[in-house]
Amino acid sequence: MGQVLVVTSGKGGVGKTTTTANIGTGLAAAGHKVALLDTDIGLRNLDVVLGLENRIVFDIVDVVNGNCRLRQALIRDKRFEGLHLLPAAQTKDKTAVNPDQMLGLIAELKKEFDYIIIDCPAGIEQGFRNAIAGAEKAIVVTTPEVSAVRDADRIIGLLEASDLREPKLIINRIRPKMVRQGDMMSIEDILDILAVDLLGIIPEDDMIVITTNRGEAVVLDQNSRSGQAYRNIVRRILGEEVPIINLDEEEEGFFKKLRRIIGLK
């Protein structure tokens, strides 16, 4: 039986979809069977981020309404055999699906996949209710901004009220230099308020924009820091103990690194 994870945040634009795509791709790259579920009906994005937009024939609303079989709506990824996407509908809205239908859908997916990852829409209304209905574990994404942390706190409260306890936190788009200068909330500041376990931190990285626009996943990019951060998160989900990257060290300059390599430090 598969494990069902929901990726949520409350606030929009903090990286839920990017995180869903990268964790899904990472798990699939590790050889697992993964289904990604886009529940952002009316504002679907996950298909675009994965570069699968042009393959969509049926969507989640078609499946729950019985217009097609689940298997017909699932789109297989370009790179990984084990990665599948169930896209959201673009012409409907969040009321086109209800939590009971989601439970049925997830029960069916669990038979076939090792991991089902649900991309939750922003907000706390029905879209959120649908997304968390069948989830067993939650991943909360935030950025080091007061508003995003506030919304994450609200979401954690709502998850707990729905019996999704001990969510894991991903802090996205960290800029170590700004944190050092005291201009950005630090990881400690955020954990102090949210008091949940940290699943990982992702540094701000241009490669995210580049790969996302190409419909690729940064987790496959061996040279970028954000790719490494996502690979670490995937390993932690798989149960490995991986230390959180020290962004200060990561940021060291070229000459410092060179000196260290040739043994001057």
Partner: protein, 144 residues
Amino acid sequence: MIASANSYSISGFGHDLPAKLEDLIDENTILVQRTLRSGQSLHYNGNVVILGDVNPGAEVAATGSIIIMGSLRGVVHAGAGGDVNAIVMAFHLQPTQLRIADHITRPPDNGAIDPDYPEMAQIKGGVVTIESFQYAGERQGKVT
């Protein structure tokens, strides 16, 4: 009455603690063993003791006093029924807004004061004042 921001004063360490904690003992007290997160609220007819934090965006209102064994970063209203003797105490008192009876206060806008010791808010001489809180035994140098 809305007190101005400067009525939210912070005094020095460990002197002048007029509110007798015994006066606050009331059988109508609840113990809340959780953190209140943004969007969550607690309204209670009596005193409230919270073993956890009150995060920004959360609110607690009680007709009696409010004691927070953690960080207070949200909105609290003690003496919500008009009791001017109600107090607010927190291990880390950094409220968004603090109300006692019909007094409404907020931290000063330039407030960089962030003490790491427990503090207590109460109405003294018609204004809400904040003082460091020390247990009586500790003040007398006893090990408790």
